[in-house]
Symmetry: C2
Subunit: 413 residues, 2 copies
C-alpha cells in the first residue's frame, strides 16, 4: 500500500466524459490498495472565463473578491469528480480549501501555502475514502478565500503530498512526460525516464512549461517524488527526483535537456561610466519596478573610461523597462539606449556537466560551426544559456540535440 | 436611515453589464443613507448548467457534492457584484454562506435555514459596508455546503432581512410587481400596490410564480415587509404586507387576484366502499409516496353502499400516483381508476371575501353563464378554487376578472 496524490489539469477535467475517465484512473489506484488524494484544476477555459468577468467588471478589481470568483472553477470539478467516483463505487468526498483547511498567506491572487491540516484528511484516507481537493485555492487568516496564482494547482498537489507524506505525487497532464527538448522542433526528442529537481527547475524557468516552477521548487524542498504523465494514455511518465536517485551510471548523459525561450528582449546601454556604483544605478530602478533582469554582460572598459552594459528582460516588460531606464538616464549617465526583441535564449541543462569539463566549449563550437553568433552567455552549475538571433532558434536546438547525443533512434510517437 | 435587503434574481445578474446596473441601483440606496445587504442569484442559466453537469455525471448524485457544485454560481455573482460596487466607490464585500455563517439543516439540496449569525454582518453594515450575500446557500453542521432548493434565493433574502431586522426586503425580478392576474391572458390586469402575505401565498401556490412560496411563508412568520419590483425600470412595485397594513377602505376589492394552474391531473376511483377507513386507504399510500393531493371531492353514497372519490395531483406525479393506486387496489376496493389531464384549476383569492357573502356564488354563476362546467371545488377562508376543462382556462380567467371589477381602465404597459 502506498499513499498517492494524483493531480489532473484542466484538459483532463474538461467535461463530464473526461471527468469519468479521471474517476476510472483513480479507481485503478484505489483497487491496487493505495490511499489516494486527488487534486483537480477547473475545466479548461473556465478560469479564463472567470478572470475575464472580473477584469470586465473592473480592471482594478479587489483581489479578495477576485479569489472568491475564480476559486469557484475548482469547486465545481471537485464536486463532480466526487460524484463520479461514488458512481463507480469508490467512496469519495470533496474538501474545499477552507474545509480542510489549506492555510495560506493573505497575498490574494498569488497566495503561498503555509500549512495544511492533515488530521481530517488522514482520517478520511485511513477509512478508504478518496479525498478530492480543489487545486489553486486556500484560505487566509480571517477565513477569506485565496488563490495561488495561475497554474497553482501543481503547487497545491505537491503541498498536499508533502503534508500527507505521500509516496508519490503524479501530475497528469496533456503531455506524457518531460522530453530532452521540444518534440515539435526535434522529432527525435526522447522522453526522459528521470530528471532531477534542479534540472527540471532550470528547464521550467527557461520555457519548458510542463510543471509550474513553484511546484518543482516546493517538491525539491519537501522531497516529494513527482511524476509527470499523460491523462490520455497508460505509458509511464517522467519521474522528477532528488539528485541521489539518479545513479552515476554509464549511460548518464552530460546534458539532460535543451530548452529555448523566445520571450526575452535585449537591452544595451552604451558608454556607461566605468566607476563603482554605475551598474547599481542601472539595476536598482529596474528591481524597484519588479522587472526580472536575466542575462547580464558587461564588457571591459573602453579606453575612454566607459563601458557598454547588455542584459535581457522578459519581452512583456520591455516597454516598462525602457521607460524606467529613460527616466534614470541622468543618474546612470549612458549615451544610448538600444533594444532588440529579435533574440532567443538557448539553454542546455544537465547535472552531469558538474563533473565534466568542456560541455560549454562544445556548445559554443557547435553553434559557431553553423555560423550562429553568440550575443551573451550565462552559466550556472548545471546549465549554460546563450543568447542568439531568434531566426536561428530551431537550428540551434537541433544541432545541439545531436551534438550531445540526445537523438532517439526512432522518431517519438 | 433604514436597513434594507435588496435581492436580485438571475436575469438581473446575467452578465457584466447587468451586474453594473445592479451596483448602480444599490448605490442609490446607499447614497440615500441606508444600510444595505444584497442577496444575489447565479447568472441566469448557470444553475441549470451546473445541475445538468451533476445529473450527467450520475443521476444518483450525492446531494452533498451536488450542493458544492451548484453553490458556486452564486459565489461568482457575489464576488463580481462586490467588485462592481467598489468600482463605483461603494465599500462592499462578499460573504459566503459558510463565512457569515448562514446555518442550515443538513437536508442537502433542500436545506432549511436555522440561524444567521448577525454579529459580523451588523458590524460590517454599521461601518457603511454593503454586504453581498450569495442566495440559495448555507452551511450545515460539519461545515458542509448546503443549498436551499431551486428558487431558494428569495428565502435567503427574507431570512437575512429577518436576522438583521431590516425595514424592508426588496425582491428585484423581471416582472414589476404582482398583478390581479396573468397580463398575458388579461391585458387589463392591474398591478397591485399592496397584497397580504396570505393572499400572496394562495396565489403563489396556485401558479402565480413571482415569489417562491417558502419565502412568503417565512416573511409572514417573521413579519418582514416584502416588495416585489423590477430591476429594469424605476416604478414602485407591489408591497406584500401583514393583514393589518391593508385598511378596510372603500376601494378594497373582495377579490385581489385570479390565478390558474394547468399542471394538475384529475383522478377518480369509482365504487369505493362507503365505510370508515375507506378514504384513508386511498390517501395514506399516496402520502407515503410523498405525492401532494390537492382538491378532494367525495360524493354521497350511491344506493349500492359505495361512492366515487375524485381528487387532483400534480401532472408530473400522475404516473407515480396511478402506480401507487393500482398496487393498493385490493386494499381500497374500487372498481375503476379513471384519470384526466385535460383540466385546469382556477382560483380567486382575496382577504375581502372573509367579510362578504356571495363571493363564491358569483364565481359559479359567472362560469355557468358561459357554459363552463365545474368538476370540483375547494375553498379556504380567502380563496375559492374550481376545476374546469383545460380549454376554458383563459375564458374563465377573463370573465372572472371582469365580474369582480378587476379590469384596469387602460391596458397595462
Amino acid at each position: 500500500m502506498a499513499r498517492i496524490v494524483m493531480k489532473f489539469g484542466g484538459t483532463s477535467m474538461a467535461g463530464v466524459e473526461r471527468i469519468r475517465a479521471v474517476a476510472e484512473r483513480v479507481k485503478r489506484e484505489v483497487d491496487a490498495g493505495n490511499q489516494v488524494a486527488v487534486v483537480v484544476s477547473a475545466m479548461a477555459g473556465e478560469t479564463d472565463r472567470l478572470v475575464a468577468f472580473c477584469r470586465e467588471v473592473s480592471p482594478l478589481y479587489d483581489p479578495r473578491e477576485y479569489d472568491v470568483v475564480v476559486a469557484s472553477g475548482e469547486q465545481v470539478t471537485s464536486g463532480l469528480l466526487a460524484i463520479s467516483l461514488q458512481a463507480i463505487g469508490v467512496p469519495a468526498r470533496s474538501w474545499m480549501g477552507w474545509q480542510l483547511p489549506i492555510r495560506t498567506s493573505d497575498g490574494h491572487g498569488s497566495a503561498r501555502i503555509a500549512e495544511i491540516d492533515t488530521a481530517t484528511l488522514n482520517a478520511a484516507l485511513e477509512q478508504g475514502q478518496v479525498a478530492v481537493i480543489p487545486g489553486f485555492q486556500g484560505v487566509a487568516a480571517g477565513e477569506r478565500v485565496t488563490t495561488l496564482g495561475r497554474g497553482g494547482s501543481d503547487t497545491s498537489a505537491v503541498a498536499v503530498a508533502a503534508a500527507m507524506k505521500a509516496d508519490r505525487c503524479d501530475i497528469y497532464t496533456d503531455v506524457d512526460g518531460v522530453y530532452t527538448t521540444d518534440p515539435r522542433i526535434v522529432p527525435r526528442a526522447r522522453k526522459l525516464q528521470k530528471i532531477t529537481f534542479e534540472e527540471m527547475l532550470e528547464l521550467a524557468s527557461v520555457g519548458a512549461k510542463v510543471l509550474q516552477t513553484r511546484s518543482v521548487g516546493l517538491a525539491m524542498k519537501e522531497n516529494v517524488r513527482l511524476q509527470v504523465l499523460s491523462s490520455f494514455d497508460d505509458r509511464p511518465g517522467t519521474m522528477i527526483v532528488g539528485d541521489d536517485e539518479i545513479e552515476e551510471a554509464m549511460e548518464r548523459q552530460f546534458i539532460t535537456g535543451i530548452a529555448h525561450d523566445k520571450n526575452e528582449a535585449k537591452i544595451t546601454l552604451t558608454d556607461v561610466p566605468d566607476r563603482p556604483g554605475a551598474v547599481a544605478a542601472i539595476f536598482a530602478p529596474l528591481a524597484e519596478a519588479s522587472i526580472n533582469v536575466d542575462m547580464i554582460v558587461q564588457n571591459i572598459a573602453h579606453s575612454t573610461g566607459s563601458t557598454d552594459v547588455t542584459f535581457t528582460v522578459p519581452s512583456a516588460e520591455l516597454a516598462r523597462s525602457l521607460d524606467v531606464l529613460e527616466k534614470a538616464k541622468d543618474a546612470i549617465g549612458y549615451t544610448r539606449l538600444v533594444h532588440d526583441t529579435n533574440v532567443s535564449k538557448i539553454t542546455i541543462v544537465g547535472v552531469g556537466m558538474r563533473s565534466h569539463a568542456g560541455v560549454a566549449a562544445k556548445m559554443f563550437k557547435t553553434l559557431g560551426d553553423r555560423g550562429i553568433n553568440i550575443q551573451a552567455i550565462t552559466t550556472s552549475e548545471i546549465k549554460v544559456s546563450v543568447l542568439i538571433e531568434e531566426d536561428y532558434t530551431e537550428l540551434a536546438v537541433r544541432v545541439l540535440h545531436t551534438a550531445y547525443g540526445l537523438d532517439a533512434e526512432q522518431v517519438a510517437a
